[in-house]
């Protein structure tokens, strides 16, 4: 496939902002619209933009395939561990056991922030993996 300068420059300028917006959606998911799933999908779409415009080799130098693969599996494991930690320390499965701060602050969310981060990692790595394997075929 022929690559033009427009694609190269636009993807380089735009992709960091898309990745940053995905992280914003994940970390502020309990305060504003967004959350783990939506932020993860936006993260993955940033990686797909890089994949389409920069090629597989340069993207996999930044996001190596084994790292994304294990992040996808470890995300599910971390979600289960957080759920069962709720059984051990709190009331039941997925219940909050961390101290809760004032409403409207990012670190004051206790359990939800960590859960959103884990779900965002899992979803982002999963959709990125789908596109990696589809692109490699």
């Amino acid at each position: 496939m022929k690559k033009t300068d427009i694609l190269d420059v636009i993807s380089r300028k735009l992709a960091p902002f898309i990745l940053l917006f995905g992280m914003y959606l994940i970390t502020y998911g309990h305060l504003s619209p967004g959350g783990g799933f939506q932020g993860g999908v936006v993260l993955a779409s940033g990686v797909v933009l890089l994949l389409l415009c920069q090629g597989t080799d340069r993207v996999q130098k930044l996001f190596p395939l084994p790292v994304v693969n294990s992040a996808e599996a470890l995300g599910f494991l971390a979600f289960l561990l957080m759920g069962f930690a709720g059984v051990l320390f709190g009331g039941g499965f997925l219940s909050n056991f961390l101290p809760v701060g004032k409403a409207g602050e990012v670190p004051g969310a206790g359990f939800i922030l960590i859960l959103n981060l884990v779900v965002g990692l899992k979803v982002g790595a999963g959709i990125t993996l789908i596109c990696f394997y589809l692109f490699k075929e």
Binding site: L25, P33, G34, G35, F37, Q38, V41, V42, A44, S45, V48, L52, I127, I130, C131, L134, F135, E137
Partner: protein, 77 residues
């Protein structure tokens, strides 16, 4: 506003159904997703609108275009 958007949805869905070229159908499907994300935002569901814009207009369009490209290569060779 909602009625206009719903009418647009019907028109776009008919365009997707009756277009002969597969690539044109996929592009119409992306436009359909974009307008349905706008509809979700107007109906006060910004979470669903974000998901629809990212998955419907972004990832699934990429998947469809890629699959069409691969199957055409398979048929030609």
């Amino acid at each position: 506003m909602t009625e206009t958007l719903l009418t647009l949805h019907i028109v776009l869905a008919l365009l997707v159904l009756f277009s002969r070229n597969l690539l044109t159908a996929v592009i119409f499907l992306a436009v359909y997703s974009l307008f349905s994300s706008l509809l979700f935002f107007i109906l006060h569901a910004p979470d669903v609108a974000l998901t629809e814009a990212a998955i419907g207009a972004g990832i699934s369009t990429f998947l469809y275009v890629w699959v069409i490209r691969k199957t055409r290569d398979g048929v030609a060779s």
